[in-house]
């Protein structure tokens, strides 16, 4: 899932940044969504306990926490395995990342339950494992794409390995790395809905409840909110990813 930053014209106004979060906020206003899905629920007015905004916050918190941990683990990992003389570690990492990409998400989440029990813990673990995939693979790809002659010039100017990493390699790998963070975060919004089956709460809860109660309205509420959350995060992160790199002072 090596995603490449989408080439966007900077002149284009990123409408998504305004539209999606605004729609999300509108849907979270008390009573708005239940009224909208009323035709699907046989006239019954849905009430939510805990309230929808709280489910959304739980969901968002789970995703952002996972992204934070993924950054803390993934970036150093990508740096460590791309140092010269560690090709074997890089191969191993790439193979594991490939496995993570291939093994179904739901299987990863379910397999975490025996180890961690029910609740948010296995979901968080699954989100971290799954979220690491694009961050590590993009981080490795970004760091490897730094051209040899630039490193040669940096070495020739007397930069230490740490200075080369900090001043040359990381800034140049940053766009690709951030694209990976964006992919990881947005996909995890979807993955986290499945976490409701593991008792993690969040926006998957109304979906699962609706499916088991055969109530399409309930499903729609969760699905719409999850989709809007994913689109909002995608647009917001797109703002960071596509912005021109600020010159390092």
């Amino acid at each position: 899932m090596t995603s490449v930053p989408a080439s966007r014209r900077p002149s284009r106004v990123p409408w998504g940044v305004i539209v999606w979060p605004a729609l999300l906020a509108f849907c979270l206003l008390p009573g708005v969504l239940p009224r909208l899905v009323q035709p699907l629920t046989a006239g019954e007015r849905l009430t939510f306990e805990p309230p929808l905004w709280q489910l959304t916050l739980t969901h968002l918190g789970l995703v952002l926490l996972a992204t934070g941990v993924v950054l803390l683990i993934g970036v150093p990992l990508a740096v460590v395995v791309t140092r010269p003389g560690r090709e074997a570690l890089r191969h191993l990492t790439e193979t594991l990342v490939g496995l993570g990409q291939t093994v179904p998400t739901f299987a990863v989440l379910a397999l975490a339950v025996p180890a961690l029990g029910f609740g948010w813990a296995p979901t968080l673990l699954g989100l971290i494992v799954y979220g690491l995939v694009p961050v590590v693979s993009n981080g490795v790809a970004g760091l490897l794409s730094v051209e040899g002659h630039l490193l040669d010039a940096a070495r020739g100017m007397g930069m230490s390995p740490w200075q080369r990493l900090q001043r040359v390699e990381l800034p140049l790998a940053l766009p690709v790395l951030l694209a990976g963070v964006r992919t990881s975060t947005v996909y995890n919004v979807g993955t986290a809905t499945i976490g409701a089956a593991l008792g993690a709460g969040g926006l998957g809860a109304p979906i699962i409840n609706g499916l088991s109660q055969q109530n399409p309205g309930l499903v729609l509420v969760g699905a719409v909110l999850a989709a809007l959350l994913a689109l909002s995060l995608d647009a917001l992160l797109g703002l960071v990813v596509s912005s021109p790199l600020s010159p390092a002072e």
Partner: protein, 396 residues
């Protein structure tokens, strides 16, 4: 530029006289640690029945000693006889299965028939380490005929399964009792994936060909496919319920055809939509990526548009396109597992059942085959890509 002054791979010389990727030693150390830890941790979890909490049992001292030795063996072999590292790693894998068999047998011996002995954390860690060791051995010997030794564990492990040595393992007990139903769900899973992929190909291939020639259509198609991908699979399944059940309510004829809000119909629709993205994206990108010089040359030779497509554009685009089909197939194995929630059946049924009743063995019965299915499908389609890539003279 003359030869650059990069120091050679670190492991060279210390382990093997041939060229080995740097850091292979570290990989083998990373393999040893989980194996050591696994040997010392609980090996078997014994429960009076399949749902009750149970006791952790450790390996007997003699086996702990043997386990520690086996854990260190790949690393030692790599130092002393690097060519045989694959054999040492395979030995560790087989030993892990063998010890699981003996320990589960010993645990359930004399217990009530409902007692279940399952693999505890130690086994999983030991397998993890042994797996990394076979990987490290593969790297160490990858330019040599001995690399096949890293796969030597295959036949003995198969023999352990077939001989009934592992029959006391709770997952296999569960599997035997599910027996034909499990095979049926596996078949249903494969059918969901196959049909979803087939429908997506039927729609996606012509659509990609049509869109690849049109700048704006290509943008729209890709944008739409991307938007579908942003939707969580669970949300998409849920969203399809409403329109499909509305359709079924409005046209009873459709309901007679089996279309309703839940079941196979929304699952197949969702699977098809999901598979469309990689197929469309890679198809459009690959078809548009054919160098214009090549197309010019072909036109210059007097090819008709049809000949141009069948003889030049399609063969050149095929490897990239196929990798999109592979991504779609792998993705579908996962989405199909989730689709069990809306009554579509498949291996996901066991995962949800296991989650609902907190039965780990049922979860494993669904999740492990689903994972293996995805990996197998990935490997098979990769092989196909390589074959076709070679056939058309373009490596993947």
């Amino acid at each position: 530029m003359s030869v650059s002054g990069q120091p050679g791979a670190g492991v060279r010389g210390a382990y093997a006289p041939w060229s080995v990727p740097g850091g292979t030693g570290t990989v083998l150390v990373l393999a040893t640690l989980p194996m050591l830890a696994g040997t010392l941790l609980p090996w078997v979890l014994l429960r009076p029945n399949r749902l009750a909490p149970g006791d952790s049992l450790r390996l007997p001292p003699a086996l702990v000693g043997a386990g520690l030795l086996l854990a260190a063996l790949p690393l030692l072999t790599a130092r002393l006889f690097p060519r045989l590292t694959g054999l040492a790693a395979s030995l560790a894998v087989v030993a892990g299965f063998w010890a699981l068999g003996t320990q589960t047998q010993a645990a359930v011996a004399g217990q009530a028939p409902f007692a279940r002995a399952s693999a505890a954390s130690g086994v999983w860690l030991f397998w993890l380490g042994a797996g990394i060791a076979t990987y490290g051995a593969g790297l160490l010997t990858r330019s040599r005929p001995e690399r096949w030794l890293a796969w030597a564990w295959g036949p003995p492990v198969a023999a352990l399964f077939l001989s009934g040595h592992l029959n006391a393992w709770s997952v296999l007990i569960e599997g035997r009792s599910e027996g034909p139903r499990w095979v049926q769900e596996l078949g249903q899973h494969l059918r969901l994936v196959g049909e979803g992929l087939g429908l997506a190909l039927l729609i996606g291939v012509p659509l990609a060909v049509w869109a690849s020639g049109r700048e704006r259509a290509a943008g729209t198609v890709l944008g739409a496919a991307n938007a579908v991908q942003t939707l969580p699979s669970l949300a998409l399944l849920g969203l399809l319920i409403a329109p499909l059940s509305a359709l079924a309510n409005a046209f009873p004829a459709l309901r007679a055809l089996g279309i309703s809000g839940i079941g196979v119909a929304p699952a197949l629709t969702a699977l098809t939509l999901y598979a469309l993205l990689p197929i469309l994206r890679n198809g459009v990108v690959a078809l548009r990526g054919v160098p214009s010089g090549t197309l010019d040359a072909a036109r210059g030779m007097g090819m008709t548009p049809a000949q141009l497509f069948w003889r030049v554009r399609l063969p050149l685009a095929l490897p990239v396109w196929l990798s999109g089909v592979r991504q779609a197939a792998v993705l579908l194995v996962g989405v199909a597992a989730v689709a069990a929630l809306i009554g579509a059946g498949g291996l996901g049924t066991y995962i949800f059942k296991g989650l609902q009743s907190a039965a780990t063995d049922l979860i494993l019965l669904g999740a492990v085959p689903a994972a293996l299915l995805a990996l197998g499908l990935d490997a098979a389609l990769r092989g196909l890509e390589r074959l076709l890539g070679r056939h058309f003279g373009r490596g993947p």
